[in-house]
């Protein structure tokens, strides 16, 4: 290193005639390695300048600052009619699933009771045709009785109604 050059630079530094680059060279010279005795008194001045460049604030400052500046903004959320009733729809869907499961279970459990509309599958209930005939005729008799009873009731009702109407008209 050309010490003469450094001395000249230093002189110009005191007179404020150095450029930023020249001042950087001075700092580098005084902070790195050997400094001749004649220039030693100035060493700390440049060491100090370099040391001060690393002074600063911690990362916690950033967090604090950002929390002050970028405060969370509460935005109004637009709710459509569908989204508003969404929970209700969900509940309905769950209920439907349960009902369907119940239905399926019921069908599979009581499958044998289902009506069979295929007449070819029918089998005789009685071995003796006479017994079967009697059973059927008695059943039909009961049916006939009931029908005639209800017919009588109906006609009695209509006579009664007609009578009431004629009385009212008079």
């Amino acid at each position: 290193m050309d010490y003469k050059n450094i001395e000249q630079l230093l002189e110009r530094y005191w007179r404020c005639e150095t450029s930023l680059e020249e001042e950087n060279r001075l700092r580098d010279f005084f902070t790195s390695g050997e400094v001749p005795a004649a220039l030693l008194p100035y060493k700390e001045l440049f060491v100090y300048q370099k040391e001060q460049q690393i002074e600063g604030l911690g990362a916690d400052f950033d967090a604090r600052m950002l929390s002050k500046v970028e405060s969370p903004v509460v935005k109004a959320k637009h709710l459509s009619l569908v989204s508003r009733f969404k929970p209700l729809f969900r509940a309905a869907a769950v209920v439907t699933v349960f009902l369907m499961l119940g239905n399926v279970a019921q069908r599979s459990l009581f499958h044998n009771d289902a009506l069979d509309y295929n007449y070819n599958n029918y089998r005789d209930t009685y071995d003796d045709p006479n017994v079967a005939y009697k059973k059927v005729s008695s059943a039909l008799l009961i049916l006939s009785d009931e029908i005639s009873k209800s017919n009588n009731q109906n006609s009695a009702d209509s006579i009664c109604k007609a009578a009431t109407d004629s009385v009212m008209n008079e």
Binding site: Y13, Q49, Q52, E55, G56, D62, L66, V69, E70
Partner: protein, 169 residues
């Protein structure tokens, strides 16, 4: 013009602003408050960011003004230099690390003892490495005034330091 982001362009200036505020207030807690106030103030004017030539220079100016206000309010507890000088000259041991640390302390005190303008100029030029134009902008002076102020500051530090150091050795 490029869009300025708080996170990318302004927040990283915190260390520079802190060092400047510290140089003026001479108090770390106060300096940190100054940086925070500066950033909040700059944030509140975010609509005008695009109008500034240099957002850094603007931040520096705001920080400097706030720091000066604060140090005036604190009644700027000026360092008593004389007792410290005497203490510093007591270090008559070998030229070792201890002496170096003491010398650095001495320089620190000498610079901090300067008037605010000279301190700020030294800070911006010798520590932050700003050119005269930028310093002039931050401080609201002409380049010539900045140069004169820097000259006086350097001369004062040099004279006092050599006097004390020469006497101490």
């Amino acid at each position: 013009m490029q869009e300025i982001s708080f996170r990318k362009d302004i927040l990283p200036l915190k260390d520079k602003l802190f060092r400047l505020a510290l140089r003026i207030t001479l108090n770390r807690a106060e300096a940190e408050d100054v940086v925070q106030d500066t950033m909040l103030r700059v944030w509140s004017r975010r609509n005008e960011w695009s109008k500034f030539d240099s957002i850094e220079a603007f931040c520096m100016t705001v920080a400097r003004n706030l720091a000066i206000d604060r140090s005036e309010k604190m009644d700027a507890k000026n360092l008593e230099l004389i007792p410290e000088m005497e203490q510093a000259t007591d270090a008559s041991g070998p030229y070792n690390l201890l002496v170096q640390t003491e010398r650095l302390d001495l320089i620190h005190q000498l610079i901090n003892k300067l008037p605010e303008k000279q301190r700020t100029v030294i800070q911006l030029r010798d520590i932050e490495g700003k050119n005269y134009k930028e310093i002039a902008k931050v401080m609201g002076l002409t380049e010539e005034q900045v140069k004169v102020t820097l000259f006086r500051a350097r001369q004062k530090v040099k004279e006092q330091y050599l006097a004390i150091d020469g006497y101490g050795l």
